[in-house]
């Protein structure tokens, strides 16, 4: 009985991890948007007197 249980456990763990990969991708897209906006205005600041 022990064998399949271990197998099950690792299995759910793998699923649990991979199952939030869309979330990770989404927040990183969000993060890049924040960076692009900020850097854009920062360069405007540098360009102006």
């Amino acid at each position: 009985m022990a064998q399949p249980e271990i197998g099950k456990k690792t299995n759910t763990k793998v699923e649990d991890q991979s199952s939030l990969k869309g979330t990770l991708a989404s927040v990183f897209l969000l993060g890049f948007f924040l960076i692009i906006t900020w850097v854009g205005v920062y360069f405007l600041f540098l360009d102006r007197f």
Partner: protein, 549 residues
């Protein structure tokens, strides 16, 4: 959880609806004012001679920024507590009614003064522009009334804790408590400047007012004000939307932690609204900039939690691939779609906010129309669309009616119309702001200046967006009236999210209010004491009042 109500008690429902009536009347009046502003600013339309741009703008700011928000939020929080912690006692309900009437009387007083053109000082009422004393008294009553409403919430929370010793309070009650406590700590600032500075000065009891101290007290309040608007939307995003889509709350503990972080860090940051002003040492400004950046962290956590909730739900329905879960979301349900548009709007809103708060970068955008574009994303889209999304189920729930299929469809259209209108208006505001176009300004060619001419096409785009938005407001009002008075009788669900089974027990430390309020006060003292003493010690002679309107 024996005290959870399936249906909010009718008597509590009436109290909540009273708040909502005022809020939606405010939406009607303020929306009309907003439309007029964009039309005037396009240069193609002139107001009749008995009113003026700044009178209209004062109405818009006061009625939408202060009245709609405060009434809706207080009503919503009362509903949350009544639903999740049990029906209010007679005493609590009576306290709620006293709060409601105090706020309403105050609103009417302020409104009369604005209509008489005795208070065209905009919703920020910066001295030394001086409004009629009744305007300040009216605003004071709105704040005091909100404290009384808050007292009703705190009493209800206390009775729940007493009846359930050793247990963490229901998540939505907890969140309403955090927001109420933050509001009370924050409003002390605005109450102080109004009661001790502006009111005696407008009554002629004192001749002069310290302008910088007044502004500092105002902005001590002004930033937590925006979080007071935002947190009820977060409550819906964290704890209600998951139920609507059929999923689970990602993590109860993380949700509570992010709310506590908001309590701690939303107040000691008011200087980020005063970055370009004299009389404040830049090192203290920078310190508050750092604290401002800390309050970004709970929003980063929120973003993750929301995406995770959606993805977990989608995958439980068999979604595959990186973004397959998006397709599984209930795109036909207005209770989800409308707040979801609000969430999306928070992405550009947050990006703009980071720019605003970045110390010297503020010089690029300060008091340009970019700022107006920014808070029409945060407040007038993220927050307001979430409030609309809440109304679509809460109003029929409270009035014993249902959201019909037809109304649900109209509600989705409403959300989409808003998104389109705001893309035009806010987008054009951001762009014109980067070119230097000032905010809070009627149409002007500035003597035919070439730069000012470049701004005009953007102002026309704002008027296009404003007109579309006004259509969205009419749709919203139509749906509200339907749900309040005409929709078929029935039982509309009050969705309250459940925590996913995997999440662990909620630590009790979150309910330790002495601890959290203690840290909040320490942070405020740390960020404000020295610059505030400097301000008073080095104060110039005060200002007499001016009525330039």
């Amino acid at each position: 959880m024996k005290s959870v109500n399936t249906i909010v008690d009718r008597r509590d429902g009436k109290l909540v609806m009273a708040h909502f009536y005022v809020a939606f009347i405010a939406l009607a009046i303020g929306g009309l004012a907003g439309l007029l502003q964009t039309l005037v600013r396009s240069g193609k339309f002139e107001l009749p001679s008995w009113t003026g741009y700044y009178q209209i703008l004062t109405i818009h700011g006061v009625v939408l920024g202060l009245v709609l928000t405060t009434f809706f939020i207080m009503g919503f929080q009362l509903a949350l507590v009544s639903k999740t912690s049990g029906t209010l006692t007679a005493k609590q309900r009576k306290t709620g009614w006293i709060g409601f009437w105090t706020m309403t009387v105050g609103t009417v007083m302020a409104a009369v003064m604005i209509l008489m053109n005795e208070a065209s000082v905009l919703y920020t009422f910066y001295a030394p522009l001086q409004a009629h004393a009744l305007f300040y008294i009216g605003l004071t009553l709105v704040v005091v009334g909100s404290w009384i409403d808050g007292a009703a919430l705190i009493m209800a929370y206390a009775s729940w804790r007493k009846a359930n010793p050793g247990k963490p309070s229901p998540l939505l009650t907890f969140m309403a408590m955090v927001n109420t406590l933050m509001w009370i700590v924050a409003t002390i600032g605005v109450a102080a400047t109004v009661l001790f500075q502006l009111l005696p000065w407008s009554l002629g009891l004192v001749e002069r007012v310290d302008v910088l101290v007044s502004r500092t007290l105002f902005w001590y309040f002004g930033h937590p004000l925006v979080y007071f608007w935002l947190l009820p939307a977060y409550m819906a995003w964290y704890a209600i939307v998951p139920k609507i889509i059929g999923g689970k709350i990602f993590s109860d503990s993380l949700a509570r932690m992010s709310f506590i972080l908001f309590l701690l860090f939303s107040i000691p940051v008011g200087f980020h609204h005063q970055l370009t002003e004299p009389g404040i040492d830049p090192a203290w400004k920078f310190l508050q900039v750092v604290l401002t950046f800390l309050v970004v962290i709970p929003s980063l956590m929120t973003a993750f939690s929301l995406f995770a909730t959606f993805e977990m739900y989608g995958r439980s329905k068999g979604a595959t691939g990186l973004f397959g879960w998006l397709k599984k979301l209930p795109w036909g349900d207005a209770r989800f779609v409308v707040p979801f548009i609000g969430m999306l709007a928070f992405i550009p809103a947050g990006a703009g906010g980071l720019v605003n708060a970045s110390h010297q970068l503020n010089q690029v955008v300060h008091n340009t129309i970019w700022v107006t574009g920014h808070f029409h994303l945060t407040l007038a889209t993220s927050v307001v669309l979430t409030f609309f999304g809440i109304s679509y189920w809460l109003v029929p729930h409270l009035t014993g009616r249902v959201l019909t299929k037809a109304m649900n469809k109209l509600a989705i259209i409403q959300g989409v119309v808003w998104a389109i209108g705001m893309t035009f208006m806010s987008g054009a505001m951001h762009a014109a702001g980067l070119l230097g176009a000032p905010r809070r300004s009627s149409f002007s060619t500035y003597g035919g200046s070439e730069q000012a001419m470049e701004w005009i096409p953007y102002q026309v785009a704002q008027a296009v967006g404003g007109s579309i938005l006004f259509l969205g407001i009419i749709l919203m009002l139509y749906i509200f009236i339907n749900l309040a008075f005409f929709a078929p009788k029935g039982e509309e669900e009050f969705p309250v999210g459940e925590v996913s089974d995997a999440a662990e027990k909620t630590p009790m430390v979150f309910e330790n209010w002495k601890l959290w309020i203690g840290i909040t006060v320490l942070l405020i003292l740390f960020a404000y004491t020295i610059p505030f003493i400097d301000m008073i010690e080095n104060a110039p002679i005060g200002s007499k009042g001016y009525k330039f309107f």
